[in-house]
């Protein structure tokens, strides 16, 4: 406890004691909280329900909290009615299940006199002077408007003044080599190439300012700038390309959001527009931008349990509310899901107002852009006709089934389409009896019965089964003849290895074939649960059955289909057409949310979806000049209004939060050291004037991020050496005054990019679907196994990794790579032996050593000294010292240049930016 609070408590006690001693008569009259009740609570209760600790989210030293109650959700004090007040019940009845203080704790129970005081106080109306409303945090610095008057007009001016006050001076200037390397890493996340370093050094020696400005401008104009800064942004917004939770399936169409962010940085999209598009890009046709909203985890495991379903939806929207407010406002609004924010002026209503702005957003994909629908329709029809034709052709090649046969001449059974051809027969009922499967209960995604005219008469049949897989949205009996393919529209029986379907066609029909499958979607994913023994029979009375096909004449599962060998081209054509049809149907999709009708948002008592309270209208935070929309407003209008409110120059948080993020990524620590928390629980700005000046600059320069970064990178701080004087390290341990340039370890992504880059292997192709660092896997629960062998496919920049949630690859995942389970506005930097082992022994690194050795020989020739110099230029942007050359030469002579390259990759200098 701090001194201040201690003093306060002592004063309170003293005053209370004085009062009780001096005016005992008063005790018989009106009892007050401060004078009579607080001393009792202080002794017995406040240790657990006071300023420092709030067990069950309940505190007794604040009127609002005490009256509202804690986790139990009911007012603890009902003024005038002690017997109805849980507080009184708990302290007075030792047998109560919530008897307080809890039995067994060291704290003494209240004595009769104390209990009586509280009883009388409540019965008298619980007089309590202190009133603390939600808005009492409004004096917090980050809620104040930006300053408008400045003492300085440059970053260096602001910093220099502070350093002068502290009596600290700056470090020596850095070498131009070091400056080139650090600016290059800061802006592009890639090492500078030796030629540009050389040119920069020449220019720098002539005109420092001009050389730095030119370098910075060049790098800001590089497309790799967007890749570097998009990766930072993706940390802040918890972006990943899989669902998380148990199944953790990949989101194959999530990448357009990543490309959108890269492009936004490269185009220097004004930050206010960047905000608007991520919240409501669908208003302006920028569909991919709203990938922001659904960038978080999503539980794909669904259940008929309504409580579970409500909780899942509440969690989805909670993720959107929390991420939206932490990203743009630097506020932890998510804390107000269950109760008013503990430190900040954010009420529960505020939380639900923002939730109502987002409640029309569902996880899922939508069209990336609208296309010409008519032309699409015509083309689709043509494809459909063609595919039907080919199918007919292929089917006719399949021999007539011979039940109970001993010779196998029909195609092997497959999870895809199985054809049962038989002599045309009149039938009213068709029965499919599965007797064995490849494992588990049989699954059939579609069952078609073809009449002699080629029509599928199963569509209008009524179907019964021996039993169905219980309560699963994907697997239902009606799906077996719904005309839709794939696991999501299939039937599964309720018995392992067995199951029966009976189709009643309504009237007798002449039929000739049956088609059935496990997964006939264009890209089938499931090959389990396929029937291996079955009987297909028909009947005209529903009692006597004639078997028309079984598995006895099917070829072995490993052999080729009958039609495949002579008709290879036919099959290939069909596949091509089907793929085309699928993409025509869908058009390019993006995982940017399905925008639906907003569902009504209730305030949930204690955040519990099973305790809905009043309906809340969409709006913003009351303490920040909230807007409010009518309940009938559309989902899009809600998001647009929210975006306008956030992206306003009058919002005191928006610009501050963004310039602080930029500062954080440039110097390792923000001016506020908690980049996504500008509330009372967060950090205090180290230099408030500088923060405000930067924020004002951002707004004035039309929210240009690049212009702000240009100011930072061309400042004198960026030209200081990274060795701090003892004095500065002692008196400014966090180097917040930037007396020297803060050295940094490369993060996982630029580290991997740099390794590939110096080997000459980095593939700089931008955009599009990403690459995988994990082996392909189609299990129900996606299993992530890190690849051990990497080819050129994986040699793109790591921002293009198809990033799974909460799974990190074995090599670079150990370098504090965020796992996107939570937002990560600030990365940890740890140094571990596993990192060392990965860089020393992984196949990836051994192959890179070989590649680098090859490059050195190609570019520097056979002379060892030249190779060493070249290596130092590539890896460290400098020339080697004589002592270093000696060491390297010896190693190369005795163990070869691959060993030398492996050593350099493992040096500290390689992984650091000084």
């Amino acid at each position: 406890m701090n001194q201040h609070a201690k003093l306060l408590r002592m004063c309170t006690l003293t005053v209370a004691w004085l009062l009780s001693v001096m005016i005992p008569a008063l005790a018989q009259d009106t009892l007050t909280y401060e004078a009579h009740v607080r001393p009792i609570l202080t002794e017995h209760c406040l240790a657990c329900h006071g300023p420092s600790k709030q067990l069950s989210s309940f505190r007794l030293d604040r009127k609002s909290s005490a009256m509202l109650g804690g986790d139990f959700g009911e007012p603890a004090i009902v003024p005038g009615k002690s017997t109805h007040s849980p507080l009184f019940q708990y302290i007075s009845d030792p047998k109560h299940s919530n008897a307080m203080p809890p039995p067994g704790e060291e704290r003494r129970s209240l004595n009769a006199e104390e209990i009586d005081t509280i009883r009388r106080w409540i019965d008298q109306g619980a007089s309590w002077q202190e009133e603390e409303t939600i808005a009492d945090g409004m004096d917090h610095w980050s809620y104040q408007p930006l300053r408008r008057q400045w003492d300085h007009s440059s970053i260096d001016g602001f910093l220099e003044a502070k350093r002068r006050d502290a009596g600290l001076s700056t470090a020596a200037p850095a070498s131009p080599h070091a400056i080139a390397r650090r600016i290059s890493f800061a802006l592009t996340g890639l090492p500078p190439d030796p030629t540009s370093v050389h040119r920069f050094v020449q220019e720098f020696l002539q005109d420092e300012d001009r050389a730095v400005e030119r370098l910075v401008d060049d790098l800001l104009a590089s497309p790799h700038y967007g890749e570097r800064w998009a990766r930072h942004w993706l940390d802040v917004v918890r972006f990943a390309e899989s669902d998380g939770f148990e199944m953790n399936h990949q989101r194959v169409n999530a990448w357009p959001y990543r490309d959108y962010v890269i492009d936004a940085f490269n185009r220097d999209l004004p930050y206010d527009t960047f905000i608007r598009e991520q919240l409501a890009g669908d208003r302006w046709g920028v569909e991919a931008a709203t990938g922001f909203l659904v960038g978080g985890p999503w539980d794909r495991v669904k259940s008929p349990d309504p409580v579970l379903t409500a909780n899942q939806r509440a969690d989805e929207l909670h993720d959107m509310v929390s991420t939206t407010s932490s990203t743009f406002l630097g506020l932890t609004v998510g804390c107000a899901r269950c109760h008013a924010h503990k430190f900040d002026p954010i009420s529960q209503q505020d939380y639900y107002r923002i939730k109502a702005c987002l409640s029309g957003v569902q996880h899922g994909e939508r069209a990336l852009s609208s296309t010409n629908a008519d032309a699409q329709r015509t083309e689709l029809d043509a494809c459909l006709a063609k595919s039907k034709e080919i199918r007919e052709q292929l089917r006719s090649l399949e021999p007539i089934a011979q039940p109970n046969s001993s010779s196998a001449n029909r195609s092997p059974l497959s999870h895809r389409e199985n054809v049962e051809n038989f002599e045309p027969i009149i039938a009213r009922w068709v029965k499919f009896e599965v007797l064995a499967t490849t494992g588990a209960e049989p699954c059939i995604d579609e069952f078609e019965i073809l009449s002699v005219d080629g029509d599928n008469v199963a569509r209008d049949a009524s179907v019964t089964s021996s039993g169905d897989f219980a309560n699963n949205a994907f697997h239902q009996l009606k799906h077996v003849h719904d005309g839709r393919y794939g696991n999501e529209h299939s039937w599964i029986s309720n018995e392992p290895g067995k199951g029966r379907l009976i189709f009643d066609l309504g009237k007798s029909a002449s039929i000739k074939s049956v088609l059935w499958s496990r997964d006939r979607s264009p890209e089938p994913r499931y090959s389990d649960r396929v029937a291996t023994q079955y009987a297909l029979s028909v009947s005209n009375d529903g009692e006597s059955w004639t078997i028309v096909a079984d598995a006895s004449d099917r070829r072995d599962r490993n052999s080729a289909p009958v039609a495949e060998l002579p008709n290879d081209s036919l099959l290939r054509q069909l596949k091509e057409i089907e793929r085309k049809m699928q993409s025509l149907r869908d058009g390019p999709q993006v995982y940017a949310g399905k925008m639906a009708m907003p569902e009504p948002v209730h305030r949930f008592h204690r955040g519990d979806p099973t305790s809905p309270k009043e309906i809340i209208a969409p709006g913003g935070l009351a303490s920040l000049g909230a807007f409010e929309l009518p309940l009938e407003s559309s989902g899009l209008d809600r998001r647009v209004a929210l975006a306008d409110w956030i992206a306003s120059p009058d919002n005191p948080l928006t610009a501050r939060v963004m310039v602080n993020r930029l500062w954080h990524y440039h110097f390792g620590t923000g001016i506020v050291d908690t980049p996504s928390d500008f509330g009372k629980g967060g950090g205090v700005p180290f230099h408030p004037e500088l923060l405000d000046w930067l924020a004002a600059q951002l707004i004035e320069q039309n929210w240009s991020i690049k212009k702000l970064q240009r100011m930072i990178c061309t400042s004198q701080v960026y030209r200081l050496d990274s060795q701090g004087a003892q004095e500065a390290k002692l008196r400014d341990a966090g180097n917040r005054l930037l007396c020297y340039f803060p050295p940094r370890r490369l993060e996982a992504e630029p580290l991997r990019d740099t390794i590939l880059s110096v080997c000459g292997e980095l593939d700089l192709k931008m955009g599009g679907p990403g690459f995988d660092l994990f082996e392909p896997n189609e299990n129900y629960v996606r299993v992530y196994e890190t690849k051990m062998l990497y080819g050129p496919t994986e040699f793109r920049r790591m921002v293009y990794q198809r990033k799974p949630r909460v799974e990190l690859d074995l090599i670079f995942g150990t370098f504090d790579c965020p796992d996107a389970g939570q937002i990560q506005p600030k990365r940890n930097v740890s140094t571990t032996p596993l990192q060392a082992l990965n860089l020393l022994n992984s196949r990836f690194m051994i192959d890179r050593s070989r590649a680098l050795a090859k490059r050195l020989e190609q570019e520097a020739g056979a002379t060892v000294e030249d190779q060493i110099v070249r290596a130092y230029e590539l890896l460290f942007s400098r020339s080697p010292l004589p002592a270093e050359i000696d060491l390297c030469r010896t190693l190369i002579r005795e163990h070869g240049s691959e060993a030398f390259c492996r050593a350099l990759f493992n040096t500290n200098e390689f992984i650091m930016v000084y």
């Binding site: 050291d673 740890s830 032996p833």
Partner: protein, 480 residues
């Protein structure tokens, strides 16, 4: 001897101010001062003091993945037998995870009294049952979710949502490790595969990566532990010496560079780990008697023998003072109930496979730990994500998820033996007596390690995060 000298040298020159700057430089937060351990970046695994004297020095968590049925193993309910095949009272219309419920179904295995205490446990796990006098059962455990992913996350990390640090990460963050040449936190995945939530079981979440668990088992060693075969020992030694020398040149001009010192130290620890881990994983020095105690010699059941070797590995890690070991029985879903304890449809058939894999190896492990004295200062917790229904699912011969009441057990340091704490109702459906939460379990485990679960914290996104969120009460009744 050399080792210590080595370490001593590399640590010198590090200032503790720098450490604060790295890990805990955030400004003072509201509330009671949390305890954030001061971590030396060059020795992230260095032992750190607990908040108060600890009863346990290390922890073994045995995680039965997929939700093992308490009513078929440890929670004996005579009424469930008496009311066999009758509807559960007041359960009409009850919808659980997969849907509607059928009748109450008695345990598929006979319960018998075990040990001196006569504790009733079932024939599914007879050898573990025989240890009942040493175990402390908590029959009133409850979970927040009835889906595997979130519930397994809660048991592993305290939170149903993704992205939080696992218990082992919290413990190694708080206490470091006495063991100088192995990771502080090791996870041993089941031979059949990784658990349902994969790496989240041993993730460091938002804690520094130094505290993430290192997964390996008797089949799969630590990745990249060994020098590649293509590189000779001589070359490897020379290469690493040169790394050291080049770093040394840099250090001469950057005397008080704490990052550099930490990097040098991490390579030294890696070298020690290579030696120690190789020795650790070589079970050649175990006796035939030990192998047969664990069932590691059972050639008729490969998965059992492989899991048994993992159990031996767990004991060897604990003997070497590794702080936190997580041993998995059961893997991700490879089809319902195939790879783990998720017995929805044909529980009897599935558990007949899983029971023998678990029983002898774990019983052997506990017995072995006891006779070697390891139980005196090691806490063992056997957990699962939730329990199963006393009813069968409608139209199936298995049990659905049940987070309202299930059983976990503890043994070892600081825990009362032969005890049964809390209870479910007459059928084993809901916890009704001394209802316990996962937060309570975590609080208790931290307590036994000498840690105050309300103060051990890490600042992240505006909140002093704890393993127990804002909940948890130490279950004092089970402490010895």
């Amino acid at each position: 001897m050399h080792r210590r000298l080595f370490l001593g040298n590399s640590v010198s020159g590090l200032s503790s101010i720098a450490l604060l700057a790295m890990l805990a430089n955030d400004s003072a937060r509201a509330g009671e001062a949390p305890i954030r351990p001061a971590i030396d970046p060059s020795r992230p695994y260095a032992p750190r003091s607990p908040h108060f004297p600890a009863r346990a020095k290390r922890v073994l968590v045995i995680f039965a993945s997929g939700a093992i049925s308490h009513v078929d193993t440890f929670d004996y309910k005579p009424e469930l037998v008496a009311k066999h095949d009758m509807p559960m009272p007041e359960s009409s219309g009850l919808i659980t995870f997969q849907g509607e419920q059928g009748n109450l179904i008695q345990p598929r295995w006979q319960f018998r009294p075990r040990g001196q205490s006569g504790k009733m446990t079932s024939d599914l796990l007879p050898r573990i049952g025989e240890l009942a006098d040493d175990l402390c059962f908590i029959h009133s455990m409850t979970a927040k979710s009835n889906t595997h992913g979130p519930a397994e996350s809660q048991m592993a990390t305290g939170f149903t949502l993704d992205g939080f640090p696992s218990m082992g990460a919290w413990v190694s963050y708080a206490l470091g490790s006495v063991c100088e040449d192995l990771p502080a936190f090791v996870a041993i995945p089941d031979p059949r595969g990784i658990p349902q939530i994969g790496q989240r079981q041993w993730s460091s979440g938002f804690l520094p990566a130094a505290f993430q668990g290192t997964p390996f088992n008797s089949d799969r060693p630590i990745p990249h532990l060994n020098r590649p075969e293509t590189i000779s020992l001589d070359t490897d030694v020379a290469t690493r010496r040169m790394v050291q020398q080049l770093n040394g040149i840099q250090q001469a001009s950057r005397r008080d560079d704490e990052f550099l010192a930490a990097r040098i130290a991490s390579y030294e620890l890696a070298a020690r780990m290579q030696l120690a881990a190789a020795k650790l994983s070589d079970l050649g020095d175990e006796t035939a008697e030990t192998f047969s105690l664990y069932g590691a010699d059972d050639t008729s059941n490969t998965n059992k023998a492989r899991f048994a070797k993992n159990c031996i590995l767990a004991r060897r890690l604990l003997e070497r003072d590794v702080r936190f070991v997580q041993l998995f029985n059961g893997s991700y879903a490879m089809g319902e109930g195939v790879g783990n304890w998720d017995g929805h449809k044909v529980i009897e058939q599935q558990y007949s496979v899983h029971g023998p894999i678990l029983d002898q190896p774990v019983a052997g492990l506990i017995t072995d730990m006891k006779r070697r004295g390891l139980l005196d200062d090691t806490l063992v917790a056997f957990v699962t994500e939730f329990g199963r229904m006393p009813t069968f699912q409608k139209g199936a011969s298995g049990r659905d998820h049940n987070p309202s009441g299930f059983t976990v057990w503890l043994t070892g340091a600081g825990v009362r033996r032969g005890m049964s704490y809390g209870a479910t109702d007459e059928f084993g459906y809901k916890a009704v007596e001394s209802v316990t939460t996962i937060y309570d379990l975590h609080a208790t485990i931290l307590h036994l390690l000498g840690l105050d679960h309300e103060r051990l914290s890490f600042y992240h996104n505006g909140i002093e995060r704890r393993l127990t969120d804002v909940h948890g009460r130490v279950v004092r009744d089970i402490l010895s």
